[in-house]
């Protein structure tokens, strides 16, 4: 019974020390705490604790004849031993015995690609290899439906600095009163919101090229690749590019236009004109929306016109809305439909061009209004992995958070992927050495403690003891 006393009095400083270090570690944060608990002095303390527990297990089993105590302390002992095997030092030690296994690592896999190379950190260098290959068959992101499916109305102002980000403001439009558009004295009021809508455009498309040629008038959807034939003289017109901030450059081969984010916003369309019979070189023209007279030459007048939907109808098949806005500035106001063209792609309404169409652009800042799909929270990330052994597909699993792949002594976890564009996946890989020991420890510790605390005989003996005035 003396040994029992000694063990108990040794267990006290051991538990107290660990409790105090845990609290210190909680203040240090995970990274520092991990270093603290894996430091060399701590390794000595862990070993000492393991010895104490081992003696305690033997003592409570053979001398005290309390198997329940033995089981729970054995559980604690196994957790410590298993964790030692699973640790970095444990793996270093195993290397002396010829077991060379990476402890952990990360792998970036693109869809359809395979690899067995492990990085030392998510953005680190290749540091180890797996004894098998992994191939990413597919990955996908599943979202919850948004709590409120109503789209958001956003006002975007260009950045105040050349390299800056545009400023976006969410407009609170759900009232009958007009809402001010930040940075301007303009305001907007939503007259109608059609949740599932099909927008109707006057010319069948949103931007059109209006071509006048000797009494002939053609309206062509402004889409790259569109081609029309004109008579008298016979020539072909081909739309070869659309630009929002064009930067035209002249070189030997003629006009070259590139989209330049730092350029002034000035939507334009590039048109290639080719004489049908002549052997003249084709000419290239840039037709600007803001400069209606610019496209005139050779009896050919072109205008690049931005049209907004003229109406919108409810359409159950659509998953995009439409909104009827009333935009007011000074003494003018215009009604206009706003609709997103494609999901997630902001399709803006530039209020300055709406309100200043007829007149010179007065001091109305370049503000674009657009509809944004409400963000929905991510429900699950999934990646389908194939395990390859010498090129052969030997196993396959659909992994996700909480469902790793276990193969060949390693667990493979989903770690990260771009929720918007899940083309590649970051996996994290962990060695499973010692894990069985740890889990056995969990089971024994938990089972032992429940048996000690909850099992009926425990309570019976307790009440008997308290009856005896214990």
């Amino acid at each position: 019974m003396l040994l029992r006393k000694i063990l108990l009095w040794l267990a006290l400083p051991a538990t107290a020390l660990l409790a105090v270090w845990s609290i210190v570690g909680a203040f240090l944060g995970a990274e520092q705490a991990s270093k603290l608990f894996n430091s060399t002095p701590m390794v000595c303390i862990w070993c000492g604790l393991a010895v104490l527990l081992a003696v305690g297990v033997v003592h409570s089993a053979w001398r005290l004849r309390r198997p329940v105590l033995a089981v729970m302390h054995l559980g604690a002992l196994l957790i410590i031993i298993g964790s030692m095997i699973n640790s970095c030092r444990g793996h270093e030690l195993a290397r002396y015995f010829g077991i060379d296994k990476p402890v952990r690592g990360y792998m970036v896999l693109f869809r359809g690609h395979q690899s067995n190379s492990l990085l030392d950190s998510p953005d680190g260098k290749p540091a180890a290899t797996l004894p098998f290959g992994l191939k990413l068959e597919d990955c996908r992101v599943e979202c919850y439906p948004p709590a409120d499916p109503t789209w958001l109305l956003v006002a975007e102002m260009p950045a105040d600095r050349p390299a800056g980000e545009p400023q976006r403001t969410l407009l609170q439009w759900r009232s009958d009163k007009p809402t001010g558009i930040p940075g301007t004295s303009a305001s907007v009021r939503v007259l109608r919101y059609v949740p599932c809508a099909r927008a109707i455009y006057s010319e069948g498309t949103r931007r059109v090229l209006v071509i006048r040629c000797r009494g002939q008038k053609l309206i062509v959807p402004a889409e790259p690749g569109r081609q029309v034939m004109l008579e008298n003289p016979r020539r072909s017109l081909r739309i070869s590019g659309l630009y929002t901030r064009p930067s035209p450059r002249w070189n030997e081969s003629g006009l070259d236009v590139v989209e330049d984010p730092s350029a002034r916003r000035s939507p334009a369309v590039k048109v290639e004109i080719e004489e049908a019979d002549g052997d003249k070189d084709k000419t290239v023209r840039l037709v600007f929306q803001d400069l209606p007279m610019h496209g005139q030459a050779d009896g050919l007048a072109m205008r690049y016109v931005e049209t907004w939907p003229i109406d919108a109808v409810a359409d159950a098949a659509s998953d995009t809305p439409a909104m009827l806005l009333e935009v007011s500035f000074a003494d003018r106001s215009e009604r206009v439909w706003l609709a997103p063209e494609t999901p997630n792609m902001p399709d803006g309404l530039e209020i300055s061009s709406l309100l200043a169409q007829a007149e010179k652009k007065d001091r109305l800042p370049e503000v674009t209004l657009y509809l944004v799909r409400p963000t929905s929270q991510i429900k699950r990330y999934q990646a389908r992995l194939a395990v390859l052994e010498s090129g052969r597909n030997v196993a396959e699993k659909l992994i996700e958070v909480n469902r790793p792949l276990h193969y060949g002594g390693f667990h493979v976890y989903w770690h990260y992927c771009d929720p918007v564009d899940p083309r590649y996946v970051m996996l994290s890989v962990r060695s499973d050495s010692g894990l069985t020991v740890v889990y056995a420890g969990f089971a024994l510790l938990c089972g032992g403690i429940f048996a000690w605390g909850w099992a009926k005989p425990a309570w019976k003996s307790l009440s008997r003891r308290s009856d005896n005035g214990d």
């Binding site: 108990l8 006290l12 845990s22 429900k379 909480n402």
Partner: protein
């Protein structure tokens, strides 16, 4: 199913009122009536909890609002169990504890419903958190008994404290181990040394210390010391539950989304 967002709120107010009344009646009036009002308070809390479950579409154990609602709902059944099976009688105190737990659920924490992020979508979510919820309520009862023991030095209060720890310590252990198993599945490591885990470990170790101390000194001989240790354990447990969640920004641990 659509349930008016405000309904759990009204039910929580009703539960608070019932707990307050139950406390007063248990203290000065007939015990049976007080017990019946306590049961009504439980029914209201349980109804609020059920509504919440239907509203958010998952077991309401995610936000602090939901955690406190759950804790409050468990007070009455555990009080009943401890009285009938373990002979630990503290109904009035339990009603007061229920009231104190309901208060922040009603007035402090945001009841904004949240979706389960991918990491919380696991079968271990319910047992892991529920084990802790049960443990915390039992530990609250231990704290009440320990305060009694600390003030009076009474051996029966010390006994009650020990019984409560004996009931709660396995739950703490289970919660901790289920958390470790879950961490392994979700993050790849069963132990990440993050602050919440370390506080939970410290809680467990303080109770381990308490149990060994009691075994070494035969508890009843130094009731005040024993009660003080148990109370320290409850304080560390409360820090684990609350402070780490609220100070999540300070520590940026893996558990920080669970606010």
């Amino acid at each position: 199913m659509a349930i008016n967002q405000a309904i759990p709120g009204y039910l929580i107010y009703a539960a608070m009122l019932a707990h307050l009344l139950a406390f007063a009646v248990l203290l000065i009036g007939p015990k049976r009536v007080g017990g019946a009002i306590f049961a009504v308070g439980f029914a209201a809390a349980a109804a609020a909890w059920t509504c919440r479950w239907i509203q958010v579409g998952h077991v309401p154990l995610q936000s602090l609002f939901e955690v406190f609602l759950t804790l409050a709902m468990l007070v009455f059944p555990l009080s009943l169990f401890c009285r009938l099976c373990l002979g630990v009688k503290a109904e009035a105190a339990d009603a007061l504890v229920g009231l104190l737990i309901l208060f922040p659920a009603a007035f402090v924490f945001s009841a904004e419903p949240q979706r389960l992020p991918p990491a919380l979508r696991s079968w271990l979510f319910f047992p892991h958190v529920m084990a802790y919820m049960l443990a915390y309520v039992v530990l609250a009862k231990a704290a009440v008994a320990a305060i009694g023991g600390l003030l009076s030095g009474d051996a029966s209060c010390e006994q009650a404290t020990y019984k409560m720890v004996r009931l709660g310590f396995p739950l703490l252990t289970g919660g901790l181990i289920l958390g470790a198993v879950w961490g392994k599945l979700a993050w790849g490591d069963y132990w990440n040394w993050d602050p919440k885990e370390l506080w939970a470990l410290a809680t467990w170790l303080v109770f381990g210390f308490y149990l060994h101390l009691r075994a070494a000194s035969n508890g009843a001989r130094f009731p005040r010391t024993s009660c003080a240790m148990a109370l320290l354990g409850v304080v560390v447990a409360a820090i684990t539950l609350l402070w780490v969640n609220l100070a999540a920004k300070l520590f940026a641990g893996l558990h920080s989304y669970a606010t």
